[in-house]
């Protein structure tokens, strides 16, 4: 045998899909190369210096609306790229051979089916990981000035379309596709299974695993009532910084029992004050121990707003009842550790799936 013959044949079978991926990557790279430097220049010369001119609000709005089409179109491409790699590269890899009977040709050449599978898994799997990684590199670079303004790269929607996690997703989706194909033995159902399971795994990981991979930090502070005007009170009395991932935000009473969420006394973040027989009480908690200002015109003062001293009385009531807010969060400094963890976990799952696939091809498909 010519050395590496199995690699050459695997390449022949993979070259069409590789060409498609390379074309897509090239298009994204060209688009980014043309527009990216201008975006960066805009940021450096205008946005980064807005403080000295006191026009941050208008400048930021203008900045964030530049290249709107690219901003909207590129992240979904990276979002679905691992799923497509799993469905179109992974799922047919074994299933199509089984479906069309060509496995009888492939597995009776002078290459064992284990080696045949290993070569194909390594070649197409690494190619898929490279495609996802390069696409993410392009996006992460292009979006870096926008991310510096938005500070939202830790949110579930953004975390998976930046950095290195797409590499892990591609590995997982590809390995799942190959394995599903080896078990289901039909291409289309294997593709469908891959899409469904990959989407489920991504969502479940974003909401139920990632926030807890490292024990979240905890900040307990007085519950500060939002005022009608002015900025919202800082979470965790300033412990939670912009860009941090808030895992939970709960309100507890003096005994430490959870009585609400999202900065309120109740699941929806509301603070309800009831006045019965002239005695104010905090809904669901208890009577306020402090005196309230007389409410001549009811709760609605002039202009439909409660009077300022009423708000102060409510705040005093909250404080005297011992109500506090507990925020758990992942600081932005854990962004890269969590990126690595998630990438390694998905890659690890891919390796386990590949092992299952080997077992199936060697032992069961006989």
């Amino acid at each position: 045998m010519i050395r590496g013959g199995a690699w050459k044949f695997a390449w022949v079978q993979a070259r069409t899909q590789t060409a498609v991926a390379v074309a897509a990557l090239a298009a994204a790279a060209i688009l980014a190369a043309i527009t990216g430097p201008r975006l960066l220049h805009f940021y450096d010369t205008v946005v980064a210096t807005c403080g000295s001119r006191n026009d941050c609000a208008s400048v930021t709005t203008a900045f964030l609306s530049s290249y709107r089409v690219i901003q909207v179109a590129l992240p979904p491409v990276l979002l679905v790229a691992p799923a497509l790699i799993g469905a179109f590269w992974g799922a047919p890899l074994v299933a199509r051979e089984l479906e069309t009977g060509t496995f009888r040709l492939a597995w009776t050449q002078s290459v064992t089916r284990q080696r045949w599978l290993a070569v194909k898994l390594i070649l197409a799997g690494l190619a898929g990981m490279a495609v996802a990684g390069l696409l993410s590199l392009i996006l992460t670079w292009w979006f870096s000035p926008i991310d510096r303004v938005q500070m939202n790269q830790f949110t579930p929607a953004m975390f998976g379309v930046r950095g290195i996690t797409p590499i892990g997703y591609a590995a997982f989706a590809f390995a799942f596709g190959v394995t599903a194909g080896a078990f289901i033995r039909r291409t289309i159902p294997a593709m469908a299974a891959t899409l469904v399971v990959f989407a489920g795994a991504r969502l479940a990981f974003s909401y139920y695993v990632r926030p807890y991979l490292i024990t979240p930090l905890r900040a307990t502070s007085a519950l500060v009532m939002p005022t009608e005007s002015g900025p919202a009170p800082p979470l965790g009395a300033g412990a939670v910084k912009p860009g941090d991932l808030v895992v939970s935000d709960q309100t507890i009473n003096a005994a430490g029992r959870v009585i609400g969420a999202n900065g309120g006394v109740g699941p929806n973040g509301e603070i309800g004050i009831q006045v019965t027989h002239g005695r104010p009480s905090l809904a669901g908690v208890g009577a306020c121990p402090n005196k309230f200002p007389p409410l001549g015109g009811g709760l609605r003062g002039s202009g439909g707003q409660p009077p300022a001293d009423f708000n102060a009385a409510v705040q005093e009531c909250i404080d005297r009842l011992g109500i506090r807010e507990v925020v758990t969060y992942q600081p932005l400094s854990r962004y890269w550790p969590l990126q690595w963890d998630e990438t390694l976990i998905f890659t690890g799952l891919a390796i386990v799936l590949a092992g299952v696939c080997f077992w199936q091809v060697r032992r069961r498909l006989t």
Binding site: A6, T102, T108, Q109, S110
Partner: protein, 298 residues
């Protein structure tokens, strides 16, 4: 090397169904072996076991004294032409030959190209657009160019028209004549095998019914006809394979080691076709008698 294929009580089960059962065979090397039997008799299973595509559920099988499919070296010794000659539809004829060259250590590229040219195949044509006969020839070319010691062919001519069938078997015979390769091929038609095989294995109802040299099988089987009589009264060395009776006459197909001496019988030779049919119908009747419920329905 003494055996092309040797099996010992080999069996293969799919779920609860035995596709091949208790198969013990020793096929000597240097033969062209025909596997004949009705559809679902276990021919494909036996060939795929020999090619290493399947592993037996029970028993053992060795091919050219090696374990099928376990190593690249063993894979290189056996060429396989699967049923319907599967090929990569979008890969060209030349692409398939390149694949063979890349995946096989002893590939004879010149011979493969020569064969393709002689068959009049366009190397640039995609395999998906080849006719069934052309695809079978491509598959045979790939199996031959691998330079194996044994070529296994699973129903190679079943889907071919009579002309393509004859051409295919002719080219197979040329390979045997030129290279002396061992060959085992299956068919459900004796006629396909009769001209090319010198060794025959009859499979039916997932079991081996008969195996032996064609010349010996023909020499040891006889068609007897004569006045009606009970087959049980025959000499011990005469085994009745098939018996039919009219009011006055009995016609028997028997296997006998020695000559038939009883002057009451008219003894005629048996055609291979009749011989195989007799064993296959015996296997079917034996299967039916084990299921009396079916008899009642009839």
């Amino acid at each position: 090397m003494n055996a092309m294929i040797a099996t010992s009580a080999v069996g293969k089960k799919y779920g609860r169904q035995w596709a091949l059962r208790d198969c013990t065979l020793t096929i000597p090397a240097g033969k062209v072996v025909g596997l004949v039997g009705p559809n679902g008799a276990g021919k494909t299973t036996l060939l795929q076991l020999a090619a290493g595509l399947l592993t037996p559920t029970s028993g053992t099988i060795t091919v050219l004294d090696g374990q099928p499919g376990t190593s690249p070296a063993q894979l290189a010794r056996v060429g396989f032409v699967a049923q319907d000659a599967p090929a990569y539809a979008r890969l060209s004829v030349a692409g398939h030959l390149r694949m063979g060259a890349w995946l096989n250590p002893d590939w004879d590229g010149a011979q493969a190209e020569h064969r393709i040219a002689r068959l009049g195949l366009d190397p640039r044509q995609r395999a998906g657009s080849l006719s069934g006969g052309q695809r079978a020839q491509l598959a045979l070319t790939m199996a031959v160019a691998k330079r194996p010691e044994l070529i296994l062919l699973d129903e190679p001519v079943a889907s071919l028209d009579p002309l393509a069938r004859r051409e295919f078997l002719q080219s197979l015979m040329e390979v045997v004549a030129e290279q002396g390769t061992n060959v085992a091929l299956s068919s459900h038609l004796v006629a396909d095998l009769e001209r090319v095989c010198d060794y025959l294995v009859v499979l039916a109802a997932s079991r081996v019914q008969l195996a032996g040299e064609v010349s010996e099988l023909l020499a040891s089987h006889h068609r007897l006809s004569g006045p009606r009589r009970d087959p049980g009264t025959l000499p011990a060395n005469q085994e009745v394979i098939e018996a039919s009776h009219t009011d006055r006459q009995s016609t028997l197909l028997i296997r006998s080691d020695g000559p038939v001496l009883d002057p009451a019988w008219t003894v005629r030779p048996v055609s291979l076709d009749d011989l195989v049919l007799a064993y296959m119908s015996r296997a079917r009747d034996a299967g039916n008698s084990r299921r009396p419920g079916l008899e009642v329905v009839r």
